[in-house]
Symmetry: C2
Subunit: 381 residues, 2 copies
């Protein structure tokens, strides 16, 4: 039987056909007016998605590179900081801060559980002199949204900056950088930006730039001042990833013509449809505050979660993600992110139903597709 | 909402990604050993799909060009011939034969109704001196298979040749040219061959070559003898469509590695799943002998068939086909042909359910997806 590859993972995500094919166009030289014009269109488009008046810099790196840039541009050795660790990506802030000698208070959260703005205010009070709080918009390992707006309100009253890993969430769920008082926002190309991995984006608020003036952590490739200076000349300090930037221009054209509000609404609809399908099967979500980026689902008692993911991927070519670390084999994750449509959700649920049936789980066949379709039908436009 | 384009029509059909992307590779010159090697691989691969020991010629034309080649290479003005017209494509044989002065007996069949080998034997008896019988393997306008094997048995006992339009069916449903005694077989690239439109294929049996020796109909571009002579030199008489031939090589590699029997089985499974879904909705098939290439479905009483197709295409981007000529607005056609997988059937049925719901048709929501999934699940490998 002919099988097709379905990317249902939270990055890389599917890419529109004409964005994909533009990677086969001839490479143009990057020190030319032609490239600069494209590059500045991308810079402006990124400000639109970040919802900021600040510059957004384009790094040739994965999202983790931009996370490192957030740390090394704002702090100095011995600076006090807080990180929220509710999963693999919250944990990463600690892994970056410690080698640089940041005095980090890492708050370990149960995966999928919320952390309120009030709790953050208490932590700040208990840790005077905190320079930065590192957190995550959408924690990919648990499918959980955190209260960035609330954290912004709290930190605006303090000397600390709010640093947000928006890699998997920005563009898919509201997080207006300026309005929510985010000081450093980080994003990655392979999520709602609908291009391949390889670019990361970062922006700093005036409050973050003040810290950057005093920052003494060692840096070169990720030195934000170099990117700021080059952006003034409509270029990058080091060789840009030309083809990815051309792809990003094309994808941003799609995003702009659709409009950010509709892009959020699109992700909300796919998230609602997925959750309706999951619940129709009697399955339980991991997260207490699930976002519209991906849905993390508990593997029902008695079922082999590793086998579930293996069957989905190997037999049905439906590339969902499994659980990580403590949740390995205990959850699976279906993304609804990037260039996905309503029928991708139907496909994911059909593959899931066939897999669950094979693993001996008892449910009403077709029920998840029906439930998801009911949600989609009411909102399809 | 982000929408994706789903090609569910009986040609052009979806194309595997690496076959698509190979069209962006540099064009190579066609009078070179490099091109000849690729071309001969294609020729050999086509013989495998045609299931013939005869040469298969590659024409830069649509399938209709190869149909014309079948006529002009075998007949002379005033020759008697019979054509079976059970739809748009059976009708086309008549449209080609008449301008060339063929003395044609056109048998008009009700769309979707069978025509038996016994009936053909009777027609032959009633029309002595018939040189050729023109027929169709899978009539695309009605989704009907004809009894090519039976016709071959009948005509092998006569002086007439059997000419088969296999454009939409060859590769998707069994029709072994040599074993079933087909004398001229015609195929097109944009169907089960899984590449874009632009190439047509044709092969002649020894019995057909005998007629070709006597044929006096005017011909140049489609003169089979020129193609035969060039094939002996591993090339084509006129400039070949280089990029399409490179794509056909890649697609034939997929077909050969899968094996023809499995390709038939694949189409059978998708056809079974589609019909199960359609029947679960209480809808009726047009054809009394539906094939596994496409499924033609009667629009239920009281529903606007044109609106149905328009909604499927415009709102859900599910590009099924409508009815043609007498069946315009009265049927719709879902293809399961080319690079399609099981989830494309689920997608087609989900789009159909949402459309039927919008048009006010009464049915059990989710039932067609469940029925199709049950068929797929049992056979998914």
């Amino acid at each position: 039987m002919i099988k097709k590859y379905y990317l249902l993972s939270p990055g890389p995500t599917p890419i529109p056909a004409d964005v994909l094919s533009s990677a086969a166009e001839p490479i143009i030289h990057h020190r030319t007016p032609e490239f600069s014009a494209i590059f500045m269109e991308v810079s402006t488009g990124l400000k639109y998605v970040f919802q900021t008046d600040q510059d957004v810099f384009v790094l040739a790196s994965s999202g983790t590179g931009a996370m490192q840039a957030a740390v090394v541009n704002t702090l100095s050795a011995g600076d006090k900081a807080i990180s929220l660790n509710g999963g693999k990506f919250g944990e990463r802030w600690g892994k970056i801060c410690r080698p640089y000698g940041v005095d980090l208070k890492e708050i370990e959260l149960e995966w999928g559980q919320p952390f309120t703005a009030e709790q953050l205010a208490d932590e700040l009070k208990a840790n005077p002199g905190t320079k930065a709080v590192f957190t995550t918009l959408s924690e990919t390992s648990s499918g959980t949204l955190y209260d960035i707006q609330g954290y912004g309100e709290v930190l605006a009253q303090s000397e600390a900056i709010l640093v947000v890993d928006g890699i998997s969430g920005l563009g898919a769920t509201p997080c207006p950088m300026d309005e929510w008082k985010v000081d450093v926002m980080v994003a990655g190309s392979q999520k709602s930006f609908m291009i391949p991995p390889g670019l990361a984006y970062i922006s700093f608020s005036p409050k973050a730039w003040e810290l950057a003036e005093k920052s003494t952590l060692p840096k070169f490739y990720f030195d934000a001042k170099a990117y700021k200076k080059s952006l003034g000349k409509s270029t990058t300090p080091y060789t840009p990833a030309v083809s990815l930037i051309i792809q990003q221009k094309k994808s941003l054209d799609i995003i702009k013509s659709m409009g950010l509000e509709k892009l959020f609404e699109h992700h909300r609809l796919l998230g609602d449809a997925t959750r309706a399908g999951i619940q129709a099967l009697g399955l339980e979500l991991l997260s207490k505050n699930p976002g519209n980026i991906l849905t993390a689902v508990k593997v029902p008692e008695g079922l082999d979660g590793l086998q579930l993911v293996k069957t989905m991927q190997g037999k049905y070519q439906a590339y969902i993600a499994g659980g990580q670390d403590p949740y390995k084999g205990k959850i699976f994750r279906i993304a609804h992110l990037g260039y996905m449509g309503g029928f991708d959700i139907i496909t994911a649920l059909s593959a899931l139903e066939m897999t669950l049936s094979e693993l001996g789980y008892d449910f009403e066949s077709g029920s998840s597709m029906k439930a998801a379709q009911d949600v989609l039908k009411e909102n399809w436009e």
